[in-house]
């Protein structure tokens, strides 16, 4: 109540200032009149009564002023007055104001944009109920230190049944799959989840119901989006049938669009609580769980360690050294993005620091000009604070305006950032500016103001009036300390910019290396078709392979297509498998260090279509059937790893992909980089599709084309639909896939380079400012030199030399900083050393040129000083 009154009364008196003045005056006058009247009533004359009243009550004007000055609004008013003064000062110096505002807008804008991303991804809680209690289970091997985000079915079931710290545990598996609707099929993110899933996330369907364990293999939940796209509305989707791998599923419920786990999932198929895979060495599942209220991750882990130990004793072969970890879901989701985001944050922090130095510097230059004014004010008795206040207020004002401009800049910047972000960036849909970000920006603006005004303000406070008034800066007699200090600031700025430029150089060089790397196959002119043929039984799988073989033959006849092949395990693709293998007649293997490889299932003609050279032996052929002896093709690395210099063709090899049959090696092919250009080529084992049909119904079809690959899309789609319309299809090119595989590297390189560009711009401003100022100050000195016949080129050279000297000092300091900081980006570099001479040289040269360019304009001005004018000036 009273606070409300304080506020409204204050605001009212601010708004109606004259009315309040009048009221107070009226009240005071009335008081004095009454006082006088009282004395008159006691018999004094009018004159005497007034005199006594005044004697008793004091001076009326003083009283009015005293009463008038009550209230918080008066303090606010005087502050506003000071701000108005500061604003007027800023308007009088438009160049200073524009430069500082722009500098701060860039610095604060970059920070706001990056903080928006950091806040939304790393700091904001996940948009699920009890998000802080959600956990994922990982498997960790204590001997090798290796961790996988997967678990085996039996291990996870033991955790689910035994761990008292976990309220619910749910297993899931799956990914990109073809889903057959009534008349067509679509590629969809689909996962198989057990009935506990709903409990873990406290799910509430927006229509229908969740499924129970009895619904396994018969029911599915779909996303709001999926329901709308395929059935028109959420209600219409209920009761509809889907087919996945030839299994009919009824849609029992629709999940709200706010629920997005695992990311981008459209269909959640019910799978049984008892997992189908009973192996303790097949990591077929992922698991999420929810801790009981009040249980910490630490105590949950202690319990899981106990369970892990018991399992180790019970299953010494399969579970040796295995430890099951419970990690917070948020950490598991965002962990990979963390280093990149923190690097970006550090970078924009550095930019803000450069911006602060720039503003400090500009303000220092301005306060040098104001030394006389400050000296006079001090001589007239202004306090330290009164002298410092205008400096601080000016910067505060500029910071706030810069902050606002920064927020405006951040809106489009965030949009560009999200659009550029690699697909793996988690929670990208949740990124938006919000109250936290605005509070952060406001805080940042105020902090910036404080940091950058500290030195100028203290300097202003230290001005000695006697000294300053005697001293005349315009005669080229500035104090040495001040000059050195300003030079120091510029050097610091150049050093920080060098670090940024160096980082950008390293990441750009990495990008160049990656782009020019030989993948082991030809990436151009290659159409890629993701194809998923529904298959459930063994019969289905054989039929799918037959259909695919027919597809390959038909597609080879399409005009523009040169070669066709199919594969499970395409480089940079979604599918793949890997594991241990054994050989007969190969090199001996240490116990505990079994040879491992990636496993691919391919069709005849795949190597030719990809442009992977066959080094020895032969490709698969139509004669390699399910009934004929099993065969395999190996990569050069695998040959070297297991057979050394022997000819591997004719040797025997066995892997646990789907059958224990021994396969005869019939060929050796060139190595490929499997995941991305950043990866080293490694061992690969290829097996024919006909002999491994269970791994051959979800494949990539690759077409080497003589024309633009995507132009064949319709023709290819028609051909495949003729053979089987239920095969789900999706099109892309090999070039696009490889590009996507280095999206994270490109994202980093692009961002750090743009930030380095901003830093460079700021450094340029800094150098320009300091050189321009020193030239202006030395006009008198230059005039004298010119009067004595100094060459223009000599004058220009001295100016440029000054700038070059500053730049070189800055580069040297930046180099040392880079030495220390380089290890931070080491993990992000491929084929480039942290002290890469190319990046180093480029960064140094760039900065030197920038400094010289910035100094050139004031240098040119110096050569045009007219001695007569300069000497007469003042």
């Amino acid at each position: 109540m009273s606070l409300w009154r304080q506020l409204t009364y204050g605001l009212r008196s601010l708004a109606h200032r004259t009315k309040r003045d009048r009221d107070v005056a009226d009240e005071v006058e009335q008081y004095f009149e009454e006082a006088a009247a009282a004395w008159m009533a006691r018999g004094l004359s009018v004159e005497e009564a007034r005199r006594v009243a005044r004697l008793e009550a004091g001076n009326m004007t003083v009283v009015k002023e005293r009463v008038n000055s009550y209230g918080w609004e008066n303090a606010a008013r005087s502050f506003v007055g000071d701000l108005r003064f500061a604003a007027r000062q800023l308007l009088k110096h438009p160049v200073f104001t524009a430069t500082t505002t722009l500098t701060l807008a860039l610095g604060i804008g970059a920070n706001t944009a990056i903080f928006t991303v950091v806040q939304s991804i790393l700091l904001a809680p996940l948009p699920y109920q009890n998000a802080d209690r959600l956990a994922v289970l990982d498997t960790h091997w204590t001997n090798s230190g290796h961790t996988t985000p997967r678990v085996t079915g039996p291990d996870a079931v033991d955790v689910r049944d035994q761990a008292r710290s976990m309220e619910a545990v749910s297993l899931y598996a799956g990914g990109d799959l073809g889903v057959q609707l009534r008349d067509h099929s679509v590629y969809t993110e689909l996962i198989f989840v057990d009935a506990n899933f709903g409990r873990v996330f406290s799910l509430q369907p927006i229509a229908g119901r969740l499924f129970t364990d009895a619904d396994a293999h018969h029911a599915a939940l779909v996303s709001e989006q999926f329901a709308r796209d395929n059935f028109g509305s959420t209600q219409a989707a209920l009761g509809q049938m889907l087919h996945v791998e030839n299994e009919p599923l009824e849609i029992t419920g629709v999940l709200p669009s706010t629920f997005d786990f695992p990311a981008k999932t459209q269909v959640w198929e019910a799978s049984p609580l008892r997992p189908e895979s009973e192996s303790r060495t097949a990591f077929n599942y992922r698991a999420v769980g929810r801790l009981r209220p009040g249980v910490s991750f630490r105590s949950a882990q202690t319990e899981l360690d106990g369970i892990s130990r018991r399992l180790e004793t019970a299953y010494p072969d399969a579970n040796r050294n295995k430890r099951i970890l419970a990690l917070p879901l948020q950490q598991a989701l965002t962990g990979d993005a963390r280093p990149t985001l923190l690097l970006l944050w550090a970078t924009v922090g550095l930019i803000l620091l450069i911006a602060c130095v720039n503003v400090t510097h500009l303000q220092l230059v301005r306060s040098m000009e104001r030394r006389r004014e400050i000296a006079i004010r001090k001589a007239l008795g202004s306090s330290r604070w009164q002298v410092m206040q205008p400096v601080i207020l000016e910067i505060l004002l500029v910071s706030l305006i810069g902050g606002m401009a920064g927020v405006l800049l951040a809106f489009p910047a965030v949009r560009v950032l999200v659009a550029m972000a690699p697909r793996e960036l988690p929670r990208a849909d949740e990124i938006h500016l919000n109250g936290w970000v605005l509070a952060f920006t406001l805080g940042l603006a105020v902090l910036t103001a404080l940091v950058s005004s500290m030195l100028p303000a203290l300097r202003a406070a230290k001005v000695d009036p006697a000294e300053a008034l005697k001293h005349d800066a315009s005669r080229g007699m500035s104090r040495h300390g001040a000059v050195r200090f300003r030079d120091g600031l510029v050097i610091a700025e150049v050093a920080a910019t060098f670090v940024l430029a160096m980082g950008a150089g390293l990441l750009l060089h990495t990008m160049m290396t990656l782009r020019s790397r030989d993948m082991g196959y030809r990436t151009r002119q290659l159409l890629v078709v993701d194809a998923d043929a529904p298959a459930h039984s063994e019969q289905d799988a054989h039929r799918a392979v037959q259909q695919f073989n027919e597809v390959f033959a038909q597609l080879a006849a399409v005009p523009g297509v040169e070669h066709v092949g199919g594969i499970m395990g395409l480089p940079t693709g979604n599918y793949g498998s890997n594991g241990y293998y054994k050989t007969r007649g190969g090199l001996p293997v240490d116990l505990g260090h079994e040879a491992s490889s990636i496993f691919n299932v391919a069709s005849p003609g795949y190597f030719q279509a990809m442009g992977i050279p066959i080094k020895r032996g032969r490709d698969f052929s139509a004669q390699d059937t399910y009934e004929s002896p099993f065969v395999a093709v190996i990569s050069k690395s695998l040959a070297k790893q297991s057979f050394g210099n022997d000819d591997p063709v004719g040797k025997q090899i066995q892997c646990g992909l789907d059958s224990d049959k021994w396969m005869t090696v019939v060929g050796v092919v060139g190595d490929v980089r499997q995941e991305s250009p950043a990866e080293q080529p490694g061992p690969a084992l290829y097996m024919p599709m006909t002999q491994h049909p269970f791994y051959a119904n979800q494949i990539h079809i690759v077409l080497r084309t003589g024309v633009k690959p995507l132009s064949l899309m319709n023709a290819v789609q028609e051909k495949i639909a003729e053979i089987n319309p239920l095969i789900a299809l999706r099109f892309t090119t090999m070039g696009a896939m490889v590009n996507k595989s280095i999206a994270a590297e490109r994202f980093r390189a692009a961002l750090i380079s743009s930030f380095a560009g901003v830093g460079l711009l700021l450094a340029m401003l800094g150098v320009y400012g300091t050189v321009a100022y020193s030239v202006a100050q030395r006009t008198f000195e230059i005039g004298i030199r010119m009067a004595f016949g100094a060459e223009k080129s000599v004058i220009l050279r001295t100016v440029l030399e000054h700038a070059a000297k500053l730049a070189c000092c800055g580069i040297a300091a930046g180099l040392m900083l880079s030495l220390i900081l380089a290890r931070l980006v080491r993990g992000m570099l491929v084929g480039v050393r942290p002290m890469d001479p190319l990046s180093l040289g480029a960064a140094a040269l760039l900065l030197l040129l920038t400094a010289l360019a910035a100094a050139f304009a004031p240098g040119w001005k110096a050569t045009h000083v007219d001695p007569r004018v300069a000497l007469r000036a003042e």
Binding site: M1, S2, R5, Q6, Y9, D23, V24, D26, E27, V28, Q30, Y31, F32, E33, E34, A35, A37, A38, E56, A57, G58, V62, V63, R66, V67, Y70, G71
Partner: protein
């Protein structure tokens, strides 16, 4: 110190911290304007306390904003426009608590002084 006037002039300052209470008490009888309050306090205290208009009028603003008083411009008996203050309900409560607090402390001081004497 030679200031003889200080010896002869009796201290008429309001005891610190009691100004609000005195104002509230005076207004609990009837709505009054500023001078009215000052005169009433002076009369009832038989001239022991004299109020300074600067302090009084500022205090009135403060009490008004605290919500203890309401103010209204009205005519006085000699038809002069004046600002009249009225005690609000919260003001009444405040007066009660201040009064009891004061009584408690004043009697404590009185006991102490007696004991010393």
């Amino acid at each position: 110190m030679l200031a003889s006037s200080a010896m002869t002039d009796l201290n008429t300052d309001v005891i610190q911290g009691t100004l609000d209470m005195l104002i509230l008490k005076t207004l609990s009888l009837e709505p009054m304007h500023g001078f009215g309050i000052a005169r009433r306090v002076e009369q009832i205290s038989r001239g022991v306390f004299k109020m300074n208009p600067g302090s009084l009028l500022t205090a009135l603003q403060r009490l008004e904003r605290a919500g203890w008083l309401d103010a209204e411009w009205r005519q006085t008996e000699n038809s002069r426009r004046a600002k009249f203050y009225t005690l609000t309900r919260t003001g009444k409560k405040q007066l009660e608590s201040e009064t009891s607090d004061w009584t408690r402390r004043a009697s404590a001081i009185a006991r102490l002084l007696k004991a010393e004497g």
